[in-house]
């Protein structure tokens, strides 16, 4: 077995947390309102909301801050801004978010690599946590429901214990101080582990048949569903910062009053804003909400062509719950598109 599996009693979680917090700052989901959770710094394990499924912003914010200084300049030189990067521990990252980080890693690692993201990514420990889906989760449809990589440690809830998978060298190092608390997983533990994931797979109530999704997205580019949805679209851009794989940014200059120095900054941007695809002389390649909305949908569900060739939706359901207009119900949209597609095929056959 590639992963080293151990059993951590839930009663010992406090010690496990203590041990993690000795390595650096720990960030975990905490409850911020009746319905919302957010990754925040936690000092004690009691602050952690273990029941949290999706936080408002995904964990990408810890590697890719909402705004950051890239470089500073004055009249003679340009200097890269290299912030002090502290070691950070992200606790409670669910499978969809691990998949999301995997996609962000691919984009930011592709040459020329993005040092600002990667330097932070390399200076962190990711502790995954199993979850049970709610009515908005559809990671199973996107094939991101089972964690395969992207974590150092992963905890599966198997009743009174967690099954702790240690995936990386950093993970091995992190559990070393708490080895006395752990015991090697036995057959019974492995059965409980398998039962959990099997039950979880049955627990999804939301989803679609993903097989032909890329083709359907291509076929239905002119579907009137986009216009209907766009009539409701606020172009508020809420769907993009909350997406674990939305990486788009803007680069802006902030000049100082002295006229010689300043800095260049990167800020999260959204393809839903009207100026996103506008070029010099005000020519706009995506002037209307419909152009931007279906661009986003296509990017998520059809995704990249070469060289990456993957879809960029991980099925976390954040956009669905964050859209004030209720038009980011990806599952319903896909179901509608697939149905239209089937109807069309039937019609063509006749």
């Amino acid at each position: 077995m590639m992963d080293h599996c151990f059993v951590l009693a839930k009663d010992s979680f406090a010690e496990f947390f203590e041990s993690l917090s000795k390595l650096g700052r720990v960030y975990a989901p905490v409850k911020v309102s009746d319905q919302s959770y957010s990754f925040r710094q936690v000092e004690s394990h009691e602050q952690i909301a273990f029941e949290a499924l999706r936080t408002i912003l995904p964990p990408k914010k810890y590697f890719y801050p909402t705004q950051e200084t890239i470089l500073r300049y004055n009249d003679v030189q340009i200097e890269e801004h290299k912030p002090e990067i502290d070691f950070q521990i992200l606790f409670g990252v669910h499978p969809c978010d691990l998949a999301g980080l995997g996609i962000m890693d691919t984009i930011f690692t592709a040459g020329p690599a993005d040092s600002h993201y990667l330097n932070r990514r390399q200076s962190s420990l990711i502790v995954g946590l199993s979850c049970m889906p709610d009515k908005h989760c559809f990671c199973q449809s996107m094939g991101t429901d089972c964690p395969e990589s992207g974590y150092d440690l992963f905890l599966t809830d198997i009743g009174d214990d967690y099954l702790l998978e240690v995936r990386t060298a950093a993970g091995v190092k992190a559990v070393d101080p708490i080895m006395p608390l752990l015991r090697a997983a036995g057959q019974d533990d492995e059965s409980r582990y398998k039962a959990f994931w099997s039950n979880r797979a049955q627990a999804f109530t939301n989803g679609f048949k993903p097989d032909n999704l890329r083709s359907v997205m291509a076929m239905e580019w002119d579907n009137k569903i986009w216009d209907e949805m766009a009539d409701r679209c606020l172009s508020c851009g809420n769907c993009t910062p909350v997406c674990p794989t939305c990486y788009c940014f803007d680069l802006v200059d902030i000049a100082s009053l002295n006229g010689t120095s300043g800095e260049r900054r990167r800020e999260w941007d959204s393809c839903q804003f009207v100026g996103f695809a506008q070029v010099a002389a005000d020519y706009n390649f995506r002037p209307g909400p419909v152009d931007r909305l279906k661009f986003w949908y296509r990017h998520k569900l059809h995704g990249f062509d070469d060289p990456f060739g993957f879809q960029t939706c991980v099925g976390c359901g954040r956009c669905t719950v964050s859209c004030p207009a209720g038009i980011d119900d990806i599952v319903s949209v896909v179901q509608a598109l697939q149905a239209t597609n089937q109807a069309k095929t039937k019609h063509d056959a006749n």
Binding site: V32, S33, D34, Q35, S36, S38, T55, I56, L57, T66, Q67, D231, R232, C233, L234, S235, C236, G237, N238, P241, V242, V252, D253, I254, A255, S256, L257, N258, G259, G262, W268, S270, F273, V274, G275, P289, V321, S322, P324, A325
Partner: protein, 261 residues
């Protein structure tokens, strides 16, 4: 202290006001120390008693045009200024006096306030750009100090300033606030309002009421539809959307039964 000769070489700026609450002026006053080493303030009637009316490099104008003499003053400012920058919602959109008051006749309002013999002449309030060419518009209620300083920094270099008009929702999401529109069904105008305030109201659990004026390309029709679905009446929604001076043209796409004032 700077010497007289040095003062002459510094760019000249002026801060003028028309009809407004002077909120912008207070922001500038608060940040004057940062500005002073780099500019000479030739006119700032709100803050200093000796004011010149010669040519200036940059004039910041706050307030809307609401009286006949505002127009004269504005035209004089324009002819004296290399850059004319509208600051604050009043100057950019006309603010409450243009929005909320647009449903009443000026004469009726004057009569209600001043009786039969009004000492003042009033016009329907309008933004500066309805009268003169404005080089850049920095909205706010009041303006954001950081944005103001950054705009000033660009202008001092003779560069067109960078001013975004992205919606409040962006700032709100980046602060990771629970959405009050979704979770509390509050009539939040974040999606159609220009950012810059740091999503102040939603961060405190209140709905955005649009005081910075519209964001770029606001989807007013969609906003109205969504608020109506939450149980708000159309006239109530429209009045909320128009309170801070969003011009009628932004409502052109609304349903025909919508009563656009």
């Amino acid at each position: 202290m700077t010497t007289t000769t040095e003062q002459k070489t510094l760019p000249c700026i002026a801060v003028e006001s028309l009809t407004g609450c002077a909120g912008e002026l207070l922001v500038i006053l608060d940040n004057l120390e940062q500005l002073l080493p780099f500019v000479r303030i030739v006119s700032f009637p709100f803050a200093q008693s000796k004011n010149e009316c010669g040519p200036v490099d940059i004039t910041f104008v706050e307030g809307s045009v609401s009286q006949p003499h505002d127009i004269e003053k504005l035209k004089r400012i324009r002819s004296n200024s290399r850059w004319l920058i509208a600051i604050g919602n009043c100057a950019v959109w006309g603010c409450v006096q243009a929005g909320a008051c647009s449903r009443c006749h000026v004469e009726d309002m004057l009569h209600a306030v001043y009786g039969d013999e009004s000492p003042i002449k009033a016009l329907p309030a309008r933004p500066l750009s309805d009268f003169v060419h404005v080089d850049a518009m920095l909205s706010g209620c009041p303006i954001n100090a950081t944005q103001f300083l950054s705009v000033t920094a660009s202008l001092l270099k003779d560069h067109l300033p960078y001013i975004t008009h992205k919606p409040v929702c962006l700032e709100c999401k980046l602060r990771e606030n629970p959405c009050v529109l979704i979770e509390k069904n509050l009539p939040c105008l974040g999606p159609v309002t220009a950012a810059g305030c740091g999503a102040l109201c939603p961060s405190l659990g209140a709905a955005c009421y649009g005081c910075w004026g519209p964001c770029q390309s606001p989807q007013m029709a969609a906003m109205a539809t969504i608020l109506q679905e939450k149980g708000y009446q159309l006239d109530e929604v429209l009045s909320r959307l128009q309170t801070f001076g969003a011009p009628d043209t932004l409502f052109a796409r609304m349903k025909p039964d919508a009563e656009v004032a």
